[in-house]
């Protein structure tokens, strides 16, 4: 069991193992020594609890390391500190312009398509839509990507502005 425990500890990030690995093993040895004096059911419960604890702990630490890694942006995101508890990123203006440009281009493209459909006699005769598989897939992926970037931008701006903290307002006087 101790060998299995140390094997599972190896799933943790190296920095975490260096910091807590020896200590965790020492504590587990004590817990396991207690369990050997108990019934088999208690030992089985200990094994299951420790295995699931180590697996979920290792996963959580890896996710934490991934999420704490610095993210690079193609534009500066220096923040303007407007007031206590409220931060407004400079990138907001850029993102809003980007979204506005996307909407304007989409409207323009839509108008062009409707005009070409109305004036093209071949299309008017057949009423059969023309599909270009690769182009359509590329356009669909591009649209989904653009929508994703826009949604991410809005969520990023909302998060930076602290809107999500509004539901934490305390009614108690301090």
């Amino acid at each position: 069991m101790l060998r299995l425990y140390r094997g599972l500890l190896a799933l943790y990030p190296a920095t975490y193992r260096d910091r807590f690995g020896a200590e965790m093993s020492a504590v587990f040895e004590e817990v396991y020594a207690d369990a050997t004096l108990q019934k088999p059911a208690a030992r089985l419960a200990l094994c299951l609890r420790e295995t699931s604890g180590l697996l979920s702990g290792a996963l959580r630490e890896h996710l934490r390391l991934q999420s704490s890694a610095p993210i690079s942006f193609p534009f500066p995101i220096r923040r303007i500190r407007m007031s206590k508890g409220f931060r407004f990123p400079k990138s907001t203006a850029f993102l809003m312009l980007l979204i506005l440009a996307g909407v304007v281009i989409a409207i323009n493209q839509g108008e062009n398509i409707s005009v070409s459909l109305a004036t093209d006699p071949s299309i008017a005769r057949s009423h059969v839509p023309h599909f270009n598989f690769v182009q359509d897939i590329a356009m669909m992926l591009g649209t989904v990507y653009a929508i994703g970037v826009a949604v991410w931008g809005v969520l990023f701006v909302l998060h930076r502005s602290g809107t999500h903290r509004l539901d934490d307002l305390s009614t108690e006087q301090k």
Binding site: F20, E23, M24, S25, E50, S52, G53, G57, A58
Partner: protein, 118 residues
């Protein structure tokens, strides 16, 4: 951001604490303890309802250390690789804030239940 430069308003956003974390902090409130002692004390305080694994315990201790709620405490006897932990002044203050929050909630709950019954 470390907690020592956080305002009370910022700290309140970290509350409520989960039950295991609250029990770990309560365990360390009396005196410094090492990992095995914390495990046993948490189990005893919760009357066997909360039994922590070492993975869960050290995940919580890591977060509390990183946020300066607890700190390592040098013991005289380190022969068995034991490492003791204790609350920092900031951690004790945060624990008191959480207890105050729970007391306020309990008073409010008792008041509302009493109104409903009458």
């Amino acid at each position: 951001m470390a907690l020592y430069d956080m305002s009370q308003e910022d700290i309140m956003q970290l509350l409520p604490l989960t039950e295991p974390v609250l029990l770990i902090l309560l365990s360390l409130a009396g005196r410094p303890r090492h990992g095995y002692s914390i495990l046993k004390d948490v189990e005893q305080m919760s009357e066997g309802r909360v039994v922590l694994s070492t993975g869960t315990l050290y995940g919580a201790l890591r977060r509390l250390l990183d946020d300066d709620w607890i700190e390592r405490f040098e013991e005289d006897d380190t022969s068995r690789g034991r490492q003791a932990y204790r609350l920092t002044p900031q951690g004790r203050k945060n624990l008191q804030l959480e207890i105050g929050r729970m007391q306020h909630l309990t008073r409010l709950a008792n008041h509302r239940v009493a109104i409903k019954e009458s």
